[in-house]
Amino acid sequence: MTAPLLEVRNLRVEFPTRRGTLVALDDVSFSIAHGEVLGVVGESGAGKSMTGAAIIGLLEPPGRIAGGQILLNGRRIDNLPYSELRKLRGREIGAIFQDPLTTLNPLYTVGQQLIETMVTHLPLNPAQARAKAIEWLELVGIPAASQRIDSYPHEFSGGMRQRVVIALALCAEPKLIVADEPTTALDVSIQAQVISLLKSLARDKGTSMMLVTHDMGVIAETADRVAVMYAGRIVEVGAVRNVVQQAAHPYSAGLMGSIPPVGRRLERLQQIDGSMPRLSAIPPGCPYNPRCPHAFDRCFVERPELMPAKDNLAACWLYAEQGVPRHA
């Protein structure tokens, strides 16, 4: 078995505040293999963006990694000095943000932004970088790329801008892309195009991807595996078919809609009664216990770790005995 491209082990992220320390991510572990797409889902505030920010080393202060390890190709990157980490960003790990309208610097042409990224990381002179920049714009489907390269971001539509952002994230040929809701801010009609562009580019370049999204349709079509997050933890992880169709954890099952209608694909996450606890008020035991229809004694005192559950891994006491649901 080859080592995974990215391995996150027991990651813990804390925010020191005046009223004590908030634990935003607790014991988060997962890995992404070479060329694999890991989908990450969960309600707002679950810690999805925080996980991505920790991986690219851009947690907002005062947030900090308080424990665990992040390994890229077997090398620890969570404790690198800033200047070393900077060289990895863009070059080894690319990032795509949610809102293309605010992600591009309004005062620079898209060409300038592409060229500066490539020249920073690759041994190219400005003329070569410009030629490559045009290639990248063509690759992400910008029409008349050789003219548009000198346009400013505001001269592009939202969908086109996100294509430019994708080109920027990929242009230094990173091996891993962290894409945080790359289509949420886009018009529904162009979301599918942008996702399929991202998917095909990642496949062609052999790039792995951590894809955060709320769109189960996107997950089902794009991801190889899925991680479900809740209150700063991963509660279930497994192959995409298994998690979508037979989620083991009650929270994932709630998200997917426990009984998916036959013959209809599930597009959106389902609403679950109640709301996720704030970071300052996570209950003892299983954090999902206030909302869980199956909660029993143990759930209120002991916190479950990820354990084999059906064909996945789930953090739920129902599977304490060899992955068999307790009252199945």
Partner: protein
Amino acid sequence: MFAFIISRLLQALPVMLTVALLSFAMFAYVGDPVAIMLGQDYTIAQRDQLIADLGLNQPFFVQFAKFVVNAAQGEFGLSYRLSRPVAQLIVERAPATLELALCAAILALAIGVPMGVYTGLYRNSWLSRFFLTFSLIGVSLPTFLIGILLILTFSVWLGWLPSFGRGDTVNLGWWSTGLLTWSGIKALILPSITLGLFQLTLIMRLVRAEMMEVLRTDYIKFARARGLTNRAVHFGHALKNTLVPVITITGLQLGAIIAFAIVTETVFQWPGMGLLFIQSVSVADIPVMSAYLLLIALMFVTINLIVDLLYYAVDPRLRIGRGKGAH
């Protein structure tokens, strides 16, 4: 572009006319030029003659129109105090004020911008705290007090720098400059600091606030996520985005520097337009005062135009927007 400049000039016209009306009103209704010019002994006939010569018996609008036409040609008549053409007086004094204002503005920008960037980036370092405390002093101490303290320290105690005047000047055509002699440069230092200190602290605080704002934006986070160097992120992406407000305020402040040079020029007996104005006020030398007023207004208008053109150069969104608007 050309159309834009023309339209801005047309917009400036009413402003200039309003100021002209004010200075004309001052001319016509404050003080009594006839009495001043005639002195103690005169006959009624002499008096009527002078009134007719000066055109003071003509209707208000005719007089105002004449005033505007003359002013546009730089004709403001004779100074009551010095009996010399006002235009000539102002041309003699302008280089001193403009050199002082320019030095003060350059000082404010060259020190204020880097200090603003530094304090915006390293909010909690002790140096930033020191700069901020220092800027409070700059904002809260009145200009004349700063001038006097500087004179006390560097002229009286240390004896390093002169406390008044321009030092030796060199004439380049009609422009007399103090920048070419050692004593002229030495004489510029204290007045420039005095005049520029307030602007310096203002620019520093503005750049700091803008930097902190810009550093929170997504495009800065994305620039970091692309692995750009700190230098490129801070001085390229971030600083450039703070420029638009900085240009506005700096432009307005440059006007203010020229206008408020009065205090500094008085403290340092600097032979500029401000000192001329103060001396004229004390004897109600109306022609000089109204000419000065108009000149300051003209400078503000010009600076505003330059600021608008700079926006144009910095922000591509304006360029495109305006371009489309013109079609």
